[in-house]
Amino acid sequence: MISARRPIVINAHVIWALMLRESRMAFGTSHWGYLWAVLQPAVTLSFLIIIFVLIGRGAPFGESLGLFFATSLLCQEYFNKLSVSLMRSFSSNKSLFAYPPVQTTDTVIARLLLVSSVHVLVGALFYTSLYLTGYGAIPWRPELVILAFVMIGLFGLGIGMINAVIYSFFSSWQHFEKLFGRPLLFMSGTFYVPSMLPPEAISIIKWNPIIHMVEINRMGFYADYHSEILDPLFIGFAIGGVLVVAMFAERFTRKMRK
């Protein structure tokens, strides 16, 4: 039953249909897209390791360069992928909105679930390979690793949906989105321990919500990782804030976008 006053989300049939449909296309027009989701972080990770080995530096924390980089890189990859892929969720599904049951929010949720499933696999693949080659570790507190993943998912959902709304009015937004995504590599503690930075640097990077989630992720992997910058209240406000803005933005521009 389709009613005009349908609640914002919940349409399991449609979301499932979209997920199956998008599983063919969300990662590019061919199955190579899935390989890409693994290759991209793998290449970045390898480069960072090579550079650090060449200049003769050890891991900023723990024994393994690979694990240290991965604990931040994979968070960024997941967030970036959500941000880009949700941004296009309205525009690339435009023709489907002629089928009345398909609502814009369904396409966003379907992509969120699909990207998240892929990144659960990517994460499992990376951490397992690191462990099997002796460069990884079994998470000390796995619940924190899961918590970090969920937080990035929610934050990425909010940002991605806001991107989608802006992009539907202003297609050049895709270039700005990249502009904000790039500095994450330097701003998210990829090759340093944030707490060891000088206070001036900390006072800047602590405004990046992703770095807080990276800290939680690392606390999950390393038993003795302490964070000076982690602020649960800030994470809560950041996630809650973007989600509220995203919902309002979607709701109040719905008629203009149709």
Partner: protein, 217 residues
């Protein structure tokens, strides 16, 4: 039953806003086949999209009981890189239907055989239309929407569409846009005239056609 509640619809166009409806409270009673008439550009297709839910009113809302189709034969939702089969499965899942049944019925009706496994980009316009028509009829809607019955295929296929649609009308009803008096007389018992930002209801088709002629000529 489908009811408009204080529904207004306008959209920006050259030289100010174009008003389709202004606080309409039209009712499409259950089980009755309606013809929707109006002059070119009055906004018949827009009204139909609002009935289906694919377009939103500027203000007011639409109350719907029963499952309403998308405009019959619409193939614009097909993704051309996906196969016919994948496209059909997507729509069947969207409506929570038995996918195997819908797939079989649609493929059977469209008569495109092995092409079901080919990307839609390889289809001719006729094949696409036949598949879209077969898909619409494979799902049992309470209300079928038809925006201008276009010629689908040859005379034999047209007859087949006609028979299938009439078969569906035993348990469902139709709301159709058409300029053809013959088609309207054949399918509809009631009508709506879209004129001057309002929908006027008729329970006599002949009167609808008479008024339509007065208004549009």
């Amino acid at each position: 039953m489908i009811r408009f509640h204080d529904l207004s619809k306008s959209y920006p166009s050259y030289g100010g806003r174009h008003h389709v409806l202004d606080r309409s409270n039209a009712v499409f009673e259950a089980g009755v086949n309606y013809a929707l008439m109006g002059h070119n550009g009055a906004g018949k297709s827009t009204v139909m999209r609002m009935v289906s839910g694919a377009d939103l009113p500027t203000s007011g809302w639409v109350e719907r009981q029963g499952m309403v189709s998308w405009p019959l034969g619409f193939s614009g939702g097909f993704n051309s890189t996906m196969t016919g089969r994948e496209n059909v499965l997507f729509v069947a899942r969207t409506y929570g239907q038995n996918t195997a049944e819908v797939l079989e019925a649609a493929a059977d009706f469209a008569e495109i055989g092995k092409s079901m496994e080919m990307p839609v980009s390889t289809y001719s316009t006729g094949m696409k239309q036949r598949l879209a028509f077969g898909l619409s009829l494979a799902i049992s809607f309470d209300t079928y929407l038809i925006d201008e019955v276009t010629s689908v295929g040859d005379a034999r296929f047209k007859r087949k569409c006609d028979e299938a649609l009439l078969g569906r009308l035993a348990t469902s009803r139709v709301i159709m846009i058409s300029h053809s008096e013959t088609t309207i007389r054949k399918y509809c018992q009631a009508g709506m005239l879209l004129w001057d930002r309002n929908l006027y209801e008729y329970d006599d088709i002949e009167e609808l056609i008479k008024d339509y002629k007065t208004v549009c000529r």
